[in-house]
Subunit: 347 residues, 2 copies
Amino acid sequence: MTASREPSPDRPAPLTIAEIAERAAVSISTVSKVVNGRAEVALDTRVAIEKIIEEHGYRRQRKRASRSAAIELVFHELEPASGYAMEIISGVEQVTRRHRLSLVLSQLQGRQVADPAWFEGLVHRCPSGVIAVFSGFTAAQTEHLRKREIPLVLVDPTGEPSHEVPSVGAGNWSGGLTATRHLLELGHRRIAIITGPSSLLSARARLDGYRAAMDQAGVPVDPGLVRGDSFVFEEGIEHALALLALPDPPTAIFGSNDGLAMGIYQAVARTGLRVPDDVSVIGFDDLTPSQWVSPPLTTVHQPLKDMGMAGASMAVSLANGESLPQNRLILSTELIVRGSTAPPARR
Amino acid sequence: MTASREPSPDRPAPLTIAEIAERAAVSISTVSKVVNGRAEVALDTRVAIEKIIEEHGYRRQRKRASRSAAIELVFHELEPASGYAMEIISGVEQVTRRHRLSLVLSQLQGRQVADPAWFEGLVHRCPSGVIAVFSGFTAAQTEHLRKREIPLVLVDPTGEPSHEVPSVGAGNWSGGLTATRHLLELGHRRIAIITGPSSLLSARARLDGYRAAMDQAGVPVDPGLVRGDSFVFEEGIEHALALLALPDPPTAIFGSNDGLAMGIYQAVARTGLRVPDDVSVIGFDDLTPSQWVSPPLTTVHQPLKDMGMAGASMAVSLANGESLPQNRLILSTELIVRGSTAPPARR
């Protein structure tokens, strides 16, 4: 019996770059380019090398040391108007500061998926972790990060995240339900909703929550009272004006985010009506300006700062090689009743 | 005559780390710690080494290569409420993205000056440039960055910046003047101002602009109409309530930022009055929520995004070894007339 060797024969050691190069019959520098995510390698060669790595594994030299002490926070876009991004940034920053990690900020200029040049730079910088907000990576990019052992966490994911990728979301469905119930309890029956982009999971969940509350209360949803497909203030004005011009207008309007709710305020004022005397308005997010308007906005608080903190904590744990107690975190939303909702006026 | 050597005898070559170590009679690693801004060197030794560097200069090995491809953006604090930081961030990000530089974000947790531990980390990361917003460094820290050839640019400086440090500011004085003139031209004479913190240059400049406009119009400033020492919304409510309770209340109130103006709106509503029918309100900043309130806020546009872009461009130029056409940039502010200002009601 020979002395046992680590690792055991049934789990062979992962290959070094030199060993991969030998098997693939290419230069070490070519393998290095592939594992470092650089572009200038022919597709066939790249595929062959990745197949070898897939089969045998790849033993990185000084792996931890090569990580930069940074967490990269990527937004779909940085939209100064809403305050949404800033809330998340301030949550993430609180965690990175505590762990003495740098916070690197990027945006995808409105694209929902990272473009290849930017992604290449990201991989090259080799951060300790990546947090993608309201945006994402292609399946291939996600897989590439996994192979490079760069932890990825999604915050407020736009779509149903793949079960393997950790994510932090908010209780959008229950928030939509609670907001609509609040209006129903006040006595409203003609309740309209201006929805966000149907491409976004969060917007769909809010709409579904609205429908569930209406169904539960036995109030049929009038399709004419469901409008919109964007989170933009100006669209809120436009759709609210259309709703208020109906022969049988709604007595309450649910704006699927605070920006839309602000647009509804404008439309109500332009129509010569008053919030909440003539029309109740409810929003979603609870960004600071919702306290600044008159009357202060009743809205659903979305814990964006906490979501940023939770996402960053998950990324840091993964960077430290720890496993997560749960891969998918849903932080609860909360109804904040202020001055924009009241019982409907008697007609 | 011997062949001329670079550099000439009257400008001796700066010393390498080894040469400095020899002169100071210390180890190379000690010198390395000092030039890399690390803490674990006795004060006497550090001073001795810095004196040698001061006299002879220091020749860094592969200097450019050791710089990280990042611009560090430092805020006094990240206050999600205002939108101020996000505007500047989005401007800086536009420039860093174009130059394929990372954007690293930090805050000083409300301190106006960087704390030593954070500063040490900054120097250690050796970024291509540093942009400090609404905050600053001690004279010693500024000098340390200069020695390490890390470019520093101040954006919206809190105090009068030292003439050597490049800075980008806004036309706060002329903005204050223009806002007040607008109210005077509408016929107002009882014009109040709620000012920002007296410790901030920007707030002082706005107040001085107000005084200049009043003086020019021959309207004496009633000291009872000048109140406040903060940029916080709640203070806007409080001071406006006090102003409106005066026996001879103002017919117009100038809030030195949009947050204060929003507070004035709340106070006017609580008093049962209306904007602009009973009280004209004007703000400063033109953050997005100023368009969301009813009536939309007349305010002075501060080009925060442009200031971020200008600051980042200056930092990038300096990082590339270029000199700046001007060390001090003032971007102009602009009056945006919306619905919150009108001639005073006849009494």
